[in-house]
Symmetry: D2
């Protein structure tokens, strides 16, 4: 790649081990091959429903913390996408796996799940919109990257793969476009908060990188939780 | 009226002077007759744009503070309605009055405006979802009530009234339905937070009533600000 | 005991398994006998330093959320006690175990630690002062109860016990008095937020009990983390 | 002055009109000469008591938002100073003017007062610690500057001035030292958040300057409120 790195690229480069451990996790590889045990996927799905509720709250905190109209609108659109569209898809999808929303609501929240979303909320409460976005994007942008990778990888099996819908959701245009807007927002907010030019030299960088790296590690913990259900 | 009062009715009854001073303010009566000076309306419109931005942030805080899925969804739908639909209408409407969004963004926020929205935000930060909703509803439900009153009042002049669109917006079905959902949410959250039965005897009641009464007073201050533009 | 239960007693009774698992954890019993491996204690001590920082932030959130002067003062006194007195004691105590504050600050925060404090913060952000206090007290009141139990238990070995100072700190008058004030605050705030009389019938009770029970479970996770250091 | 400006100096220079209007307000000049009507001072005193409560909450939010131990400690010390020391002095001082704490608590909060503190809280909620500190310092540092100016000004009358205690409180060593620490914190946090070197070119600067300027204007509104009591 030529030219300077974007903030997102620099975060991924700075937390490469955690990032790779997340987007190329065995859970993801087993989704791609279709070999993932159904019990693992169902455990993941149920927890992901609970995750989505708190993750939406964290995006709503991004609305609260927006000082520019473009950020207000972008964050509000994300909250709406998550709570009023994706959640409905998620519920419908879970029904296909025999999990009703009434079942989902009653599930106990796993610690690996609670840890992740509450960490993101606190990144927002203690910091500014940039701190919050950096903790939010490993999920938003990471799932888009996972979807794209799986769709592009000739080793991915789609025919007869019980997880084909999942792959196609995150590789699909709507999710990819949402991620692209989110990625642009990150760069715009970073610049507005003074992180332009040689931003890795900015005194905020180590903290931002740690937020990103921690969120990636907590994504790994989330996949691990899924695999542990067997 | 027979039967016990709803929380909303009891709040209006308990803060009757402020409520009446708000919904029957001279600004409103002059809107109804068409006699309101254009300078007042334009000043109001511009500040209302800025209000809408911060009021949306306060509804986003209601998403952050929701502990039940119904509340998450309802609050998120309100944020989306405000920021992604009403704001667009507002901008388009302002254009009709010769105010571009670029103009609106540059307006200095009036103190009466800032006071109101920051008070609501802090009601939410310091309290729970019920405290926040009680500070939010004088605007959401009050504008619906003003719209309905004006539409029902034979004294209201619609023909040739330059403010006819404004009246019809708030009297219209979409806004009225949004207000009805918001009203149901208030009663549901009040009950979930322990305010059922003889709720005016609940130790929280005086504080809730004060939040409601203060928000009504700040609405009066907002209309006063509009009138002061002549 | 005759007479109605206090809120604190009812919470302990409602979450008896988690409460007992916390206050009578093997880590605590090994502290009492002196048999706890030093590596476990040192690991615990270092994480407890990091815990104290975030736990103080959560008590500061209680200041932010106080609507009564008595609560403002009590919460502020607790923040001051934690950050300006206990932290200094903790640092001095750690030095006696060969851990300088510079070492402590550099420690990576364990997930069991992060999970606990961020959960408490979010209980406060999403709820009111009562929700927050209920999530805070398992630590404040639980450590007081552990200290008192150990001091009262003839099986506790003080002579030659390397952890004697720890036991005496939490059994000591200053900590016990702080806990008593905190306990009174809980009952006062519960009443002010409408939880009096038959409070277990209050619609808020299940959520409050779940907050308390979760915090107790996370205390167990904290002790487990300590023991895992061997 | 030689050498680069501190952040504090640059803020004062950038908002010179508002700053001067605040620190050299007629209310202050009449305090210095002793000519201030007692009714004005008493009105100010009562509102200042209510201000102190919410201003302390805003400093507690600074504890919540601290990411460095030095900031945690400094903010917590300020909360303690305000709520557990200054508030007591304030109450005692008010008693000397015939206002008991029971009277003070019952006072209705003036809008000019509510506007100011809620604006500061929201600056913190929507921003980071630096945004919050910039909104907090016009009060902390401004009162110190007013105290020092009055003490240094030969035109200030101390003998027989009924407001002598007030002047000596803010000119006194304890308050001046607190302000010095607060000033150091501002510079340290600004640097940690990337505002070093040519900081007025930082994209954050216009927003920070606006926060500072607004807080100064709201201080002017507070003095105006005092004078309006005649």
């Amino acid at each position: 790649m030529s030219g300077p790195l974007s903030v997102y690229q620099a975060l991924k480069a700075g937390a490469a081990d955690s990032w790779d451990g997340y987007v190329a996790h065995p859970f993801v590889r087993q989704l791609a091959s279709g070999a993932l045990p159904e019990a693992c996927f169902r455990h993941y799905l149920g927890q992901d429903y609970l995750f989505l509720l708190h993750y939406s709250r964290a995006w709503a905190l991004a609305v609260v913390k927006s000082q520019e109209i473009a950020d207000l609108r972008q964050a509000a659109a994300t909250v709406d996408l998550l709570l009023n569209h994706e959640l409905a898809l998620h519920v419908k999808y879970c029904e296909g796996w025999g999990l009703s929303e009434a079942d989902l609501v009653r599930l106990p929240e796993a610690d690996a799940n609670r840890l992740y979303t509450r960490f993101v909320m606190d990144a927002g409460l203690s910091g500014d919109l940039l701190d919050l976005l950096v903790a939010l994007i490993p999920c938003s942008l990471g799932y888009a990257e996972i979807g794209r990778r799986l769709a592009d990888d000739p080793a991915t099996r789609l025919d007869g793969n019980p997880y084909r819908d999942w792959i196609e959701l995150y590789a699909g245009r709507e999710f990819q476009e949402g991620a692209a807007l989110c990625s642009q927002q990150l760069e715009r907010v970073a610049e507005a908060r003074g992180l332009s030019g040689n931003f890795v030299a900015n005194p905020r960088w180590p903290h931002l990188l740690k937020l990103f790296e921690t969120a990636c590690r907590l994504e790994i913990g989330f996949w691990d939780m899924g695999l542990s259900a067997t």
